[in-house]
Symmetry: C2
C-alpha cells in the first residue's frame, strides 16, 4: 500500500469488491468502508489523488501513442442520484480530455434498437491509451430492461453469460475493466431529488420519471443482486460503493482507477529515436 494515503485502512479495490454471497439488501449506503478519515479530510486528499490519477492517465495515454494497445474502462452503474455525474465531473474530470473517452448511454435510439444491445457498447469502447468512461452501460439491458419487462425473460436471462463472454474478450484484448455499482439509500435519494426541486440551477437534472423508478426500488435491488451474483468475475469484478457520502464515493472510485492504472505496471515509453543524435540535430536546426 506504499502509494495509498494512510487514512485508508484497507485498499478500496479489496474491501469494495463484491464477494459471492454478499447481499444488496445489506449494503449500508452511508458507510465508509476502509476509510479512517472524515469529510474534513476529503478535499485535500481528493485534490492530491486527482493529481496522481492524472499522472497515471497521462502515462497510459503516452504508452498508447507509443504502441501499447491497453486501455482502462470505468463502468458506472447506479440508481438515480447515486452520483454518477459527480464522479464524471470530480474524479474523471481530473484527467486530460485528450485521453478520456466518455460515453453516456440513454434510452436506445432507433438506430441503436435496430442492432443488438452490445452494438452501441462496442462502438464506444476506448481506444489504446484511453480511459473510457461508461455512464450507464450494457448493464442497463439487465437492469431497467428486466425491471420493466422490455424483453421476454429468456432474452434478458441469457444476457448475463453474453456479457461475461463479451467482457472476457475485452479483458483479453487489453482493456482493464473497473466496474462500479453505486448505492444510495432511499432516504438520501429523496433528499437529493428534493434539492433538485429547490434549485432552479438543478431543474435540468430532475426527471419526473425518477419518482416512478423509485417505486420500483425492490425490483431494482433484485436486478442489481442478479447482476452482482452473475457478472462479478475474476477478470472483471464488481465494486460496490456506498454513495450517501459523496466525498467518500469520490475518494473510493479515484482509488479504484489509480489501482487499475498502477496494475498495468507502466513506465514512460522509451525514446524510439537516438536522443543524442536528435540533440545534435536540434542545436543545428
Amino acid at each position: 500500500m506504499a502509494d495509498l494515503p494512510s487514512l485508508w485502512t484497507h485498499e478500496p479495490h479489496h474491501i469494495l469488491t463484491f464477494r459471492p454471497g454478499d447481499k444488496v439488501a445489506d449494503i449500508d449506503a452511508g458507510a465508509t468502508p476502509g476509510f479512517d478519515g472524515s469529510k474534513s479530510d476529503a478535499p485535500e486528499l481528493q485534490a492530491e489523488r486527482n493529481e496522481r490519477f492524472a499522472e497515471l492517465q497521462e502515462m497510459l495515454y503516452a504508452n498508447g501513442r507509443a504502441g501499447d494497445s491497453r486501455s482502462v474502462l470505468l463502468v458506472l452503474q447506479g440508481m438515480d442520484t447515486a452520483g454518477k455525474g459527480g464522479i464524471v465531473k470530480h474524479v474523471v474530470g481530473a484527467g486530460n480530455p485528450q485521453g478520456i473517452d466518455y460515453t453516456s448511454f440513454g434510452v436506445p435510439t432507433a438506430e441503436e434498437k435496430a442492432h443488438g444491445y452490445l452494438w452501441r457498447i462496442r462502438n464506444a469502447l476506448p481506444a489504446a491509451g484511453q480511459v473510457g468512461v461508461f455512464d450507464r452501460s450494457h448493464y442497463e439491458d439487465v437492469l431497467v430492461v428486466r425491471v420493466h419487462n422490455l424483453v421476454p425473460p429468456e432474452v434478458w436471462a441469457a444476457r448475463y453469460d453474453e456479457i461475461n463472454a463479451f467482457e472476457k474478450e475485452l479483458v483479453d484484448s487489453g482493456t482493464t475493466l473497473v466496474k462500479v455499482a453505486m448505492f444510495v439509500s432511499l432516504d438520501e435519494q429523496k433528499r437529493r431529488l428534493a434539492e433538485r426541486l429547490e434549485r432552479p440551477d438543478k431543474y435540468w437534472k430532475y426527471n419526473p420519471g425518477d419518482l416512478d423508478e423509485r417505486k420500483l426500488w425492490p425490483a431494482y435491488q433484485e436486478a442489481y443482486q442478479a447482476v452482482l451474483d452473475k457478472t462479478s468475475t475474476g477478470y472483471a469484478p464488481w465494486h460496490v460503493v456506498p454513495c450517501d457520502r459523496k466525498w467518500y464515493s469520490r475518494l473510493a472510485i479515484t482509488e479504484l482507477l489509480i489501482e487499475a492504472l498502477k496494475s498495468l505496471g507502466m513506465s514512460w515509453p522509451p525514446a524510439d529515436f537516438d536522443v543524442d543524435a536528435e540533440k545534435k540535430r536540434l542545436t543545428q536546426a
Copy 2:
C-alpha cells in the same frame, strides 16, 4: 467587461482578433496583449477563470439536454510546441468530460483519405450542448498539405472558400466557432524541443519529424498568413495568440471560451414539469 478580471486592460476576444492587413511576420510570440499582470498573477487567476468556464460549460450542457441545439467549437492550430496540448489539459480540462468532445486530427487514415477532407471533420462536430475541441483541424488541409505539396495547388487553393462555406453552415446551424492560431517563436520552440529531449517523461512528445518541419518555418508562415487572410470571417474570426508564455496563452484562450459561452446569453433551463406538483409527489414517494 463586468465579468472580466481587472488585470485585462482589453478584452482578449477584441485585442487578439486577426484584422485584415495584420502580418504573421510581425507577431511577437512573447507578448501579452491586453494583459497588465505578470506570471505571478496567473495561477490564482487561471484557477478562478477555469471555474467560470466550467460553470458556463455546464450551463451549455444543461441547455443542450433541454433541447437547445447550440454548441461551441474550439479550433486549435499552431506550430509544433505552441502548446495545444497544454490548452487541452489546463484550459479545456477544467470542463466536465460529460460536455467536452475532444478530437485530435493526425495524418489521415486510409479510410479518411478515401473521403473528402471535410468528411472526418463533419463526423467530429460537437452535438447540441457540447464544447467541441479540435486539436488541429480542417486547416491542416491548407497548412501542412500546402507546404508539402500533398495536393496540386489548384486543389488547396479552392479550399479557403470551401472552408468558409462550411463554417458558415456550421455557424448558421448554431455552432459558435472559436478559432485560435497559436504562435511560438523559433527560439522558444528550440527550447521546448530541447526540454523534451532532456526529460524521459517527455520523450513520447518528441517527434524527429518536428525538426524537419522547423526548417520549413517560412513556408508555414506564408501558409498561416493565407489562412488568416482568407478565412478570418465576421462569423468565424481567427484569434492570434502569442504562446511563448504559456501562462498568458492559457489565460487568453480561457477568456476566449468564456466570451463565446457568454455570447449565447444562456440561463439555466426552466423546469419542463410542474415543480410544486413534483414536490408533493416526492413527499409521498
